[in-house]
């Protein structure tokens, strides 16, 4: 039993870390500007493909792990400045539709450039093997993924709590107008915040490409669980996203073990249960639509 269960729990942890990091990015963007970024998964895919292209041309994986997300950030900031920004003053519905359209376009563009089929993107040789823990063995790359994602989350937490810019971001979430009245350029804040969300998505995108595969729709496949993560964890709470991500990672992973056919459904069941008890999510302060 333990031989089945232990690896599955660890898989749940890895999946959960992905959902959490993507959910945190979504949350950052949603909290500050009310934008529901349906193109978030497309940026993950973009970073994945960019890393794939770099590595297949001889660049090291390590370089690609940082460079590909950074290029995605540049694209993201251009998108934010040109397409999302004009919609900030409208209801969230508009930016939701716009980014949804953008994700459909991105999918087609990826198909044109990299083909419709999944491309092989394997972890670097040093991480390709597995470690044996006695009662189970586990791929090194997945352990690496968890480490990188945890570092990214800690880095974000430090950025938000220990830097001047992070302080301004936290304040702007509460009162954008007042932060402007105190001399902060809120447009710059929006752009950097959007870029930050995309950077986290980009890192997750490169790592996910190595573990879950890379195709024009692979990033979008993580988008729905990430939204569920945010809803379970509670809007506005980054810590909630971490807990929510781990919960549904576990739920999906464990249902795969026992009732494989229900693995997709399990996160929605979990979401329904959480919302029945706590309509604002586990750590949320506002209603989902409030």
């Amino acid at each position: 039993m333990i031989h089945d269960l232990a690896p599955q729990i660890f898989n749940g942890l890895v999946l959960g870390a992905f959902y959490a990091i993507v959910g945190i990015g979504l949350s950052l963007i949603m909290n500050l500007t009310g934008t529901i970024n349906m193109a978030h998964g497309s940026f993950m895919t973009l970073a994945g493909y960019l890393a794939f292209t770099m590595v297949s041309r001889g660049t090291s994986f390590w370089f690609a792990l940082i460079a590909a997300p950074l290029i995605a950030v540049v694209v993201g900031i251009v998108v934010e400045r040109t397409l999302v920004r004009p919609l900030y003053k409208r209801e969230p519905f508009y930016s939701l539709l716009m980014t949804f359209g953008l994700s459909l376009m991105a999918e087609e563009i990826y198909r044109l450039i990299w083909g419709a089929n999944a491309v092989p993107f394997s972890p670097p040789p040093g991480l390709a093997s597995a470690v044996s823990l006695g009662f189970m063995s586990f791929p090194k790359f997945r352990i690496f993924i968890v480490i990188v994602l945890v570092i990214a989350m800690i880095g974000l937490a430090l950025f938000l709590t220990r830097t001047r810019f992070g302080l301004r971001l936290r304040a702007a979430v509460q009162d954008t107008e007042m932060i402007a009245a105190l001399g902060t350029n809120t447009q710059l804040l929006y752009a950097v915040n959007f870029g930050l969300g995309i950077f986290l998505a980009g890192i997750a995108g490169v790592l996910a490409a190595g573990m879950l595969g890379l195709s024009p729709t692979s990033g979008n496949a993580l988008l729905m669980p990430a939204f569920v993560t945010v809803i379970i964890g509670g809007m506005g709470s980054l810590f909630g996203s971490i807990v929510g991500g781990l919960l549904i990672g576990m739920a999906i992973s464990l249902t795969t073990l026992w009732i494989p056919a229900a693995s997709e459904v399990s996160m929605y069941v979990l979401m329904a249960l959480v919302l029945m008890v706590r309509p604002r999510g586990l750590f949320g302060e506002e209603g989902i639509f409030g």
Binding site: L167, R170, A180, L182, G183, T186
Partner: protein
């Protein structure tokens, strides 16, 4: 006479199609305290918001320290040394007192550093790590003033500082405003409690339905209760 620090000329502001300010003209000189009085809905808050660029002016000109700031974004105006103490304080409730102060640091430099503000407002020093949302109304008003000071303003826009505070606390707040006046910062003070504001103001304007209906020396207006009564309604003068 040289140009005043703040010069508002023919300001008109709308909310949607509703006209709020109609041809408002006023000025604030260097180091001067000017009261902006009027009943609820007269356009006092909108005037401050328009000056700071939070609500766009439809017509008219706003000049500050030699710059035409009419269409400037709020953050640029703030960085020129315009401090804002808004109605209802508008603390960042989830942040600590100290963090609220840090947000106003803008690198302009000047005598008002955070340690100096805390020295000046010792109550805030005791509460430095408490969340702003857990401060009392009076403490929040102090924090709002302290926060504006940290930006080293030459002009403070203060909106209803006495609102919702107990009389003793109001006295405290006005004592501090009086001290600020001594330091030479100019203040445009919006207040419903006319007599209170006139005590520290040099000059006063009275707004009614978005128009300036009176402009003159504060002392003269304060002495003329009948005038206040006609301009602002009975209940105000009765206080």
């Amino acid at each position: 006479m040289s140009e005043p620090l703040l010069d508002v000329d023919g300001l008109c502001t709308n909310y949607g199609k509703i006209s709020i300010l109609r041809d408002v003209t006023l000025s604030v000189g260097e180091g001067e305290v000017v009261a902006l009085l009027g009943l609820n809905g007269a356009g006092k808050t909108t005037t401050l918001r328009s000056i700071l660029g939070l609500t766009a002016a439809r017509a008219g000109k706003i000049r500050y320290d030699g710059n035409d700031i009419t269409a400037w974004p709020a953050y640029k105006i703030a960085r020129l040394g315009v401090g804002y103490v808004p109605e209802g304080r508008r603390m960042f409730k989830d942040l600590s007192t100290l963090e609220n102060l840090q947000l106003a640091e803008n690198g302009r430099g000047g005598e008002w550093t955070i340690p100096r503000v805390l020295e000046h407002l010792p109550k805030l020093a005791e509460l430095r790590s408490r969340k702003a949302g857990r401060l009392s109304g009076g403490e929040q008003e102090m924090l709002a003033i302290g926060r504006a000071l940290v930006s080293n303003p030459r002009l403070l826009l203060i909106d209803e500082p006495s609102q919702g505070l107990a009389p003793l606390i109001v006295e405290d707040v006005y004592r501090i405003l009086g001290e600020l006046k001594q330091t030479g910062v100019a203040i445009l003070l919006v207040e419903q409690n006319a007599l209170l504001a006139l005590k520290i103001a040099d000059r006063a304007y009275v707004l009614d339905s978005g128009r300036v209906v009176h402009a003159g020396l504060a002392a003269e207006l304060a002495a003329d209760r009948d005038r206040i009564r006609t301009l602002m309604g009975l209940e105000v003068a009765a206080r």
